[in-house]
């Protein structure tokens, strides 16, 4: 799956400075007597693609090693649900959407968020202007493709709020149904399906988009999670992993060609079809989602309580979770948040 | 310079108009001589239009008069005036030739 978060663009310099400070501090955080690298397994929530460029780049450039982690990355996919791997301990760290993680925790998996990577939701609805859809009202009575699961939460909340009655159609991972006109509006990730649509010959000006991040439903997406227990046993490892991962992301943003080369390599290894143009687009969008505006530069990797509350509330409303966990228990973020 | 000729009774009247000098006199001579060749026996030269006469012109008149005399013809002059008269007087031609006052009186005399 491809959840993510949308954010505003940010000047690298500030982030690099910030990160430089973290890097300088991080060696102090490692235990002095720990000459050996700590082993860990990481499972992203979907197949190798630029959505996870930061992690793969960090791995390929030896950043995890530098932070004292001997990391193994397991390629994700439909047949590797992150919840199961985390639960059974097959994965030390996973990525997941905030909404998924909350539901997982509600179901009993005691996980904690140690770094909120994607700040801005990339989920959107896309419609062809030629089908007469230009504003939310036009969706009334139309066929709308929905992915189900966590991908339905924002749309459904949206329809509810706008008082729209649509004909939901279950949408697969292809955009062909939309392209052929089988649905009037389709669910899409800004960094993925949107580009696939463009890449099939439709021009941006021919599309109407409804981005949930701009519609008051900005659910943060990809975050790094680990079991509460794992974190308690070795908080340094957790923090190191997040630091290294963020460092990997920043490197990827400043060396996009190299990052895409790395991603393509791992995609090929996992026999996942990928083309450069699509990955370039995806990486560029991830940059917007992960590195918010200059104002939010300091908040790289941190989960805002307001965002958390927004998601949790919605989930509770839809009865997807019974209780809203305490924010401070749920989120065990990086050094900028005074958490320990 | 030109010579106009007309016949009055048996008299040929030749009127000379212009100058008789070395340049023009040969033409006058030719005209007068041809009249003689045609058999004219009475010739009257009207000098009314004669502006000037040089010694060459006098020679022409003299030659014509001599030829006329040889043939036993008569040659006379009329309307002698001005410069020509002076020349005729000084050169004595006035007494050599017969000079009448006017064409009419000349014709009257020559007609007999």
């Amino acid at each position: 799956m491809r959840p993510g978060s949308l954010g505003k663009m940010q000047k690298f310099r500030d982030l690099c400075l910030f990160l430089a400070a973290c890097i300088m501090l991080s060696p102090l955080c490692l235990r002095a007597d720990d000459g050996a690298l700590k082993k860990a397994v990481f499972l992203p929530q979907w197949v190798p693609q630029a959505q996870f460029a930061g992690y793969y780049t960090a791995y390929a450039k030896g950043i995890y090693r530098k932070h004292g982690i001997d990391l193994t990355i397991v390629p994700g996919g439909a047949d590797r649900p992150v919840s199961r791997y985390l639960e059974t301990g097959q994965a030390t760290f996973i990525t997941a959407w905030l909404s998924s993680a909350l539901q997982m925790r509600d179901k009993g998996i005691r996980l904690v968020n140690i770094g909120q990577v994607v700040q801005r939701s990339a989920l959107m609805l896309v419609a062809k202007k030629s089908s007469g859809i230009e504003k939310p009202r036009d969706l009334e009575g139309r066929k709308v493709g929905l992915w189900g699961g966590d991908f339905e939460i924002q749309p459904k909340a949206f329809f509810e709020r706008e008082g729209l009655h649509v004909k939901p159609v279950r949408q697969s991972f292809s955009v062909n149904l939309f392209l052929r006109g089988g649905v009037d509006a389709a669910s899409a990730m800004w960094y993925n399906e949107y580009h696939a649509i463009i890449n099939a010959g439709i021009n941006p000006e021919e599309l109407t988009t409804f981005s949930f991040a701009d519609l008051g439903l900005n659910f943060p997406e990809d975050g790094i999670y680990t079991l509460e227990e794992t974190r308690r046993r070795d908080p340094e490892l957790a923090r190191a992993f997040v630091m290294a991962s963020l460092e990997g992301w920043l490197y990827a943003f400043s060396h996009p060609k190299e990052a895409v080369d790395i991603v393509l390599k791992y995609a090929a290894e996992a026999k996942v079809p990928a083309n450069r143009a699509h990955q370039n687009w995806m990486l560029a969008r991830m940059k917007e989602l992960i590195v918010p505006s200059k104002e939010e530069a300091a908040g790289l990797g941190s989960l805002k309580q307001s965002d958390y509350a927004l998601v949790a509330r919605e989930l509770k409303e839809l009865k997807l979770i019974r209780n809203i966990p305490d924010f401070r228990e749920f989120y065990r973020g990086s050094a900028t948040d005074a958490q320990k | 310079m030109k010579v106009e000729t007309k016949k009055e009774n048996e008299v040929t009247v030749a009127t000379v108009i212009g100058r008789m000098d070395a340049l023009t006199t040969s033409e006058v001579e030719r005209t007068l001589m041809s009249l003689l060749d045609q058999g004219e026996m009475k010739l009257l030269i009207d000098l009314d239009g004669l502006d000037y006469i040089s010694s060459a012109g006098l020679r022409t008149l003299l030659a014509t008069a001599k030829r006329m005399k040889q043939r036993s013809g008569i040659m006379a002059f009329a309307n002698l005036k001005g410069h020509a008269k002076e020349v005729f007087e000084i050169s004595g031609f006035y007494s050599l030739f017969t000079v009448y006052d006017s064409v009419e009186s000349a014709l009257e005399q020559l007609g007999r």
Partner: protein
């Protein structure tokens, strides 16, 4: 600059320019015309080729489409059990070698399984295998091949894809929805799908050959490259992705037109699809894919270019040869011309014997050479004759000069001199109109005390008059004798001259004898203008006429004599009518009055003074008009009685 260059240069410049211009026009026209023809042919061929290929692809697709469409009716109308379905599917595969899989997928909830029921038959190795698509893992109702026909309520060709596992065949699925009518409502019952191998399509498209480097390729409805000579592009590139990577918006536009189902001929610049070429694209109606045939421009135009290159070389060679010919012909003209110019230069220097080149040709140059030669010979003769004539003339002129000298020498120039206050003071001025004249004056002493003065004017000018004048002068001097009256002298002279005169010439004569002891003057005048007597007080008047005619006309004339007395200081001025009949530019005569006036007014009363005054007056009066008659003046002033004559 062009003006001073030689003929050869001008000709060559003209020939090359004109020839070059003509060639350019012809060449340019034929080049563009043949290009245009080729382009039109390409358009035609491209369309035909593409349509033919599209036709073949269509035939292939339609033969496949038939099957599920037929089976649909069968399935819709007949309630079927799994075995029957199984057989049906086997037949499908057996009937068409291109079909590598077939399924009849039912809407879940219709049959046994909630998850669905979708028997699927497929080729595996050399046999036909069977499986059930419905499983926990895969929800076939979410597959494009199921969902799209369902939502669109119509048959649909899928995007191309690779078969699973080791099967790397490129496939596409044609799926057709079928319906059941229950309780008067038509509902979707399921989807029949057949997978076909795209091998045949790929073969058809690959077989399209255009010249050496032309080819065809196929893109899917999403712009994915289905088949292309560059196999690395197949399934890995979409036309839009390629355009995005190359930053080529026109390529993207082209892709959009193609998937919209348009057809046309477009030029393609060098880019992701190859080198510069012309591309004809047309849609495949059955599945909305698009076929493109690429015509490499370079190859197409290669013939035209080669032709142009050869034509150009030929033209250049031709012009060069033409120039060479022009040079040869031009030289055949300019060489003789140059020789003639040189010869003309020699002739101009006076060398008439310069030989001219013999021209044997009958053309204009030969004609001109002959004409030039003729001219040279004529010139030579003419110059020779002219030279002779001029020499003769110069001989005559020199003889005339001698004659003048002789004539002048017989007229006395040395005037007698006397003691002061006695005798006479004389001066004279004689100016013939031509080299030799007819006027003369003379003076001589008869005896000690008697001076004769003569002035005469022969009735002519030039050589005849000068001869007559010489005769007259001699006669007068011969006949004059002391005691003989001047009139008698003239009478004698007249009789002599009149007898001999066959030329009708006459002479006017004034003959006078002055007794220097007494001042008595006796004179005779034969038709001459009377001299002017200027008394010592200054009064001037002509002396009395005698009335005698000119001398030499008629015999027997008695010339009279007249006389007058000169007192000391009195001057007698003898002159000929050349003075009084001198003309100005208006033809007016100087006249006697003017002469009298000038003589009276002369500042210097001496003979030379008075003559000088008249001479100046004449010069002023004539205003440059040519002298018409001989001018002669003799001035004699009686100074006083002579006692004894000197010398």
């Amino acid at each position: 600059m062009l003006r001073n260059r030689g003929i050869v240069f001008k000709l060559i410049a003209l020939v090359v320019t004109a020839g070059g211009f003509i060639f350019l026009c012809v060449f340019g026209y034929s080049y563009f015309f043949s290009r245009r023809t080729i382009e039109e042919n390409i358009n035609e061929s491209a369309r035909n080729l593409a349509q033919a290929t599209v036709g073949r692809i269509e035939a292939s697709l339609r033969s496949v489409q038939k099957i599920p469409l037929n089976d649909r009716y069968f399935v819709e109308s007949t309630p079927l059990d799994p075995a029957a379905l199984h057989d049906l599917l086997f037949n499908v595969l057996e009937s068409n070698a291109d079909i590598c899989g077939a399924a009849i997928a039912f809407e879940p909830g219709k049959r046994q399984n909630v998850r669905g029921f979708a028997p699927y038959v497929y080729r595996s190795e050399w046999t036909i295998a069977f499986t059930e698509l419905a499983s926990e893992r895969i929800d076939y109702t979410l597959a494009d091949w199921y969902q799209i026909p369902r939502e669109l309520s119509g048959p649909e060709w899928s995007e191309p894809y690779y078969g699973e596992g080791q099967d790397r065949t490129l496939k596409s699925t044609y799926s057709v929805p079928f319906y059941m009518t229950a309780k008067g409502q038509k509902r979707l019952a399921g989807v029949i799908a057949v997978d076909i191998s795209l091998k045949r399509l790929q073969a058809i498209v690959s077989s399209v050959k255009v010249l050496q480097t032309g080819y065809a390729f196929l893109i899917s409805q999403n712009g994915t490259v289905v088949t292309h000579p560059r196999s690395e592009l197949i399934m890995n590139a979409t036309i839009f992705g390629m355009a995005e990577e190359a930053g080529d918006t026109s390529l993207r536009e082209l892709g959009r037109r193609m998937i919209k189902g348009e057809s046309g001929l477009v030029p393609l610049g060098p880019g992701p699809l190859g080198s510069a070429s012309l591309m004809y694209y047309a849609p495949i109606p059955s599945n909305n894919w698009s076929l493109a045939v690429v015509f490499p421009v370079a190859e197409l135009m290669a013939d035209v270019r080669r032709f142009s290159m050869i034509a150009f070389i030929l033209a250049v060679a031709g012009l060069a040869a033409l120039s060479g010919a022009v040079v040869i012909i031009a030289h055949s003209i300019t060489r003789p011309l140059r020789t003639m110019a040189q010869a003309a230069g020699h002739i101009a220097e006076g060398n008439f014997d310069t030989p001219l080149p013999v021209s044997l040709s009958g053309d204009e140059v030969g004609v001109m050479t002959k004409a030039f030669e003729d001219m040279r010979i004529s010139l030579k003769d003419y110059i020779e004759r002219l030279t002779e004539t001029t020499a003769a003339k110069q001989a005559i002129e020199s003889e005339l000069k001698v004659a003048r000298e002789i004539q002048m020498s017989i007229i006395p120039k040395t005037f007698p001199s006397f003691p002061a206050g006695t005798g006479v003071d004389m001066d004279a001025w004689i100016e013939p109109a031509r080299d030799v004249g007819g006027d003369f004056y003379d003076f001589f002493f008869l005896d000690r005390s008697r001076l004769c003065v003569v002035i005469a004017d022969v009735s002519d000018k030039g050589v005849p008059a000068s001869l007559f004048m010489a005769v007259t002068k001699t006669l007068i001097k011969a006949k004059a004798a002391p005691g003989k009256a001047p009139g008698d002298v003239l009478t004698t002279v007249n009789n002599e001259l009149a007898t001999d005169s066959g030329t009708n010439m006459f002479v006017t004569v004034f003959f006078a004898v002055l007794d220097i002891k007494t001042g008595e003057l006796l004179y005779a005048n034969g038709g001459h203008n009377p001299p002017i007597l200027i008394r010592s007080q200054g009064k001037a008047m002509p002396i009395e006429k005698t009335g005698n005619p000119v001398v030499g006309v008629i015999e027997g004339i008695e010339y009279g004599s007249k006389g007058l007395t000169l007192y000391p200081g009195d001057m007698l001025l003898l002159f000929t009518d050349g003075v009084t009949e001198a003309v100005n530019l208006r033809g007016e005569l100087f006249g006697d009055e003017r002469l009298l006036k000038e003589l009276s007014a002369a500042a210097d009363p001496s003979p030379s003074g008075r003559i000088e005054a008249v001479r100046q007056a004449l010069a002023r009066y004539s205003e440059g008009a040519p002298q018409a008659d001989d001018i002669t003046i003799l001035a004699v002033r009686y100074e006083g009685p002579l006692m004894e004559r000197e010398g």
